[in-house]
């Protein structure tokens, strides 16, 4: 076969969300790859600027259905820091419990999706079945399976009762057993190993060059985890360790995620057992003093960054969200060239992409056949008197 252009996406069974790869393939080999993001611009950042701090949190949870708690916590954490409010320890523990449960359900979901991408649907069904247990716990704690709405500026909205603590602690061993089972399966399942080992290999240097984050980076031996490097909540008080592997391929990323599953489980258990007594929230002021802050958070997929600028009102003047998927895309494009066509779903799935969260705008002029981005100045007809530059320009 000569060279053909194969469009993968925006509607494609391997990618559940819209993204487009223009793959130029020579037979089964990929010779060139063009990535086209952003079919799903939702304007959340703009919408967030028009809502006060109470109403913005449910909106931010909806940036992503999987890491909903991450976005809300990252934002709340930033605002609290600006307001110089310290939330009570019990609230911190509860936030951590929800965050780690969220990481577990996200990684279990990922494991299933990765298995599905290589056609191993049995594992897909099993992991999603076990993920249901985590979701049940979250539902019990927060009252909802997806959008937990646990955060508010100054603490958390709901307490975890003693009964809930006991019932979750009772169900953790089952999950632990399952995770141990997945460790065995990942190491022993032949066809999966064939498809994962050596695929999508990225060296440590490449990871650093492309700025990949999260399990993608940790699988290549980059010991980078916001929870350790810039501790927030109670991560510097509870026992846990950063999981790294040196394989650098999809198999390594699988091992990192499964390893993080048991780490998260340990953290949840520790937090539940050592839940401090006390208030679950403090009263925070309505408005935040003007200032800028960069709030970093380790979402299940990697480092999530919220840049918040406030102007002394009860709304953020500007919110910029950098999701981990955006940081990881370049590494995917690099890992794909020269690979087999059949590896596309595997390598793409390995970063656990979350596409709607990643939407960025570009202007495409079809007549002139050019692409460009708009400078900030042109988006602001009225002069705000603020100098451009810094993180967001």
């Amino acid at each position: 076969m000569s060279k053909v252009v194969i469009p993968v996406g925006p509607q494609h069974p391997a990618l559940k969300e819209p993204v487009n790869f223009r793959v130029i393939a020579d037979g089964e080999k990929i010779v060139q790859l063009e990535l086209d993001l952003s079919y799903n611009h939702r304007g959340i950042e703009k919408a967030a600027e028009s809502r006060d701090f109470i109403r913005v949190l449910p909106l931010l949870e909806r940036v992503c259905g999987i890491c909903s708690h991450s976005h809300a916590t990252a934002f709340a954490k930033g605002i609290e820091e600006l307001m110089q409010v310290t939330i009570p320890p019990r609230a911190q523990y509860i936030r951590t419990i929800v965050a780690e449960l969220e990481r577990m359900h996200s990684h279990l979901l990922w494991l299933g999706v990765a298995a599905h991408e290589v056609g191993f649907n049995t594992l897909f069904m099993w992991t999603w079945r076990d993920r249901e247990a985590v979701q049940d716990m979250l539902e019990e704690i927060s009252g909802n399976r997806v959008h937990y709405n646990m955060n508010e500026i100054g603490g958390v909205r709901r307490d975890i009762s003693a009964g809930e603590v006991a019932s979750i602690l009772k169900r953790l061993p089952v999950l632990e057993e399952r995770i141990a089972e997945y460790v065995k399966m990942a190491a022993g399942q032949k066809t999966m190993l064939m498809r994962f080992c050596g695929v999508g290999k990225l060296s440590r240097a490449e990871i650093l060059k492309y700025g990949a984050v999260g399990p993608t980076a940790r699988a290549s031996g980059v010991d980078y985890d916001t929870r350790k490097d810039d501790p927030y909540l109670v991560y510097d008080q509870i026992p846990w360790k950063v999981v790294t592997e040196n394989d650098g391929d999809v198999y390594g990323r699988t091992k990192v995620r499964i390893g993080e599953l048991s780490e998260s489980l340990g953290m949840v258990r520790y937090c539940l057992e050592n839940l401090p007594e006390g208030q679950i929230r403090t009263t925070a002021p309505k408005a935040a003093p003007s200032g800028e802050i960069l709030s970093r958070y380790e979402a299940p997929r990697g480092e999530l960054v919220h840049f918040i600028r406030t102007n002394g009102t009860d709304k953020a003047e500007r919110l910029d969200i950098r999701t981990p998927t955006l940081a990881n895309w370049t590494s995917v494009a690099a890992a794909l060239v020269g690979r087999n066509l059949a590896d596309i779903p595997v390598i793409v799935a390995a970063i656990d992409p979350c596409l709607s969260c990643t939407s960025r705008m570009t202007i495409v002029d079809q007549d002139k056949n050019e692409q460009r981005t708009l400078p900030v100045a042109s988006l602001r007809p009225g002069n705000t008197g603020r100098k451009e530059g810094g993180l967001f320009s």
Binding site: M1, V4, V5, I6, P7, H12, P13, A14, E28, A115, H116, E117, V118, G119, F120, N121, T122, L123, M125, W126, R129, Q189, K190, T191, M192, M194, R195, N340, L341, A342, D343, I344, P345
Partner: protein
Amino acid sequence: MNDILYLVLYVLVFPGFLFLLGYALFLEFIDRRITARMQHRVGPPWYQPLADFIKLLGKEVIDPAGIDRKIFDAAPLIALAAVMTAFIYVPVIGGSPLAFEGDLVLALYLLAVPTIMLFLLGWLSRNVYAAMGGVRAVTQLFIYEVPFFLALLTPALMAGSWSVSVIAEWQQQHLWFALLQPIGFIVALIGLQAKLERPPFDIPEAETEIVAGPWTELTGRRLAVMHLAEDVALVTGCGLVVALFLGGPLLPWDVGPAWLFGIAGFFIFVAKTLCILLILSAIKAATGRIRIDQLNDVGWKYIASAAILQVAVVFVMMSAGVIS
């Protein structure tokens, strides 16, 4: 006159086409059910394959721009006809009345027809995914066909006949070939799985890579007939393996009147095909899809050499006079 009537009934009704179609849908149901239960799901109700078939028959047939409609209409039918014909030579209630010396080879060739048709469909549908799937289908065909043929021909070598029914009868007097030639049996099962394009060999229709491969542009009744052809191929394939390796529908001893023998044979046939299906479903549930280049490696390195090894072993056994 009676003979002709018997033949017509045999081919058209039982255990011929009518039974075959029903059994094909039944096996599909069992397959889906077993897989579902292994995955801890409930699975479809028994009438699901039939309901799917009828629903697809009623759906609109869409012609992709610029295709040859005649070929698109004919290809699924040819595939179905081929596998149904192949089934006539599979012993179901005792030896097939239409058996002739060499029907094994004919049946094997007929079983390859659906793959060829898929390639044709993929190539002609002017869709990159379908074309890639078509190319993958033939590439895969070249890889598994050789070991599959070799594995199925080794029983013929030992039994000294190229007729499926005769080979089944031979095992009545001797041992099952599954015991005599275990390597060949395993290779045959793997080859069958590959032929039916089931995981880990569902490379041509890899959903997450190339949408549905050659199936992408099939719609309505074309899709329905092609699915049915696949189901029939499943029955025929299982039946062939049963006849060649598990002694077919025959009891090791003679029982009473011919009709009782036939009925007993039928139940044995069903039981044995279900066993084969269980193995195939287990393989399907326990594996992911491998890549075509990996299949190439594995196929030639291990599966083909295993088949050749089996042939060599058979020659040694025969010259040593282990089996008379």
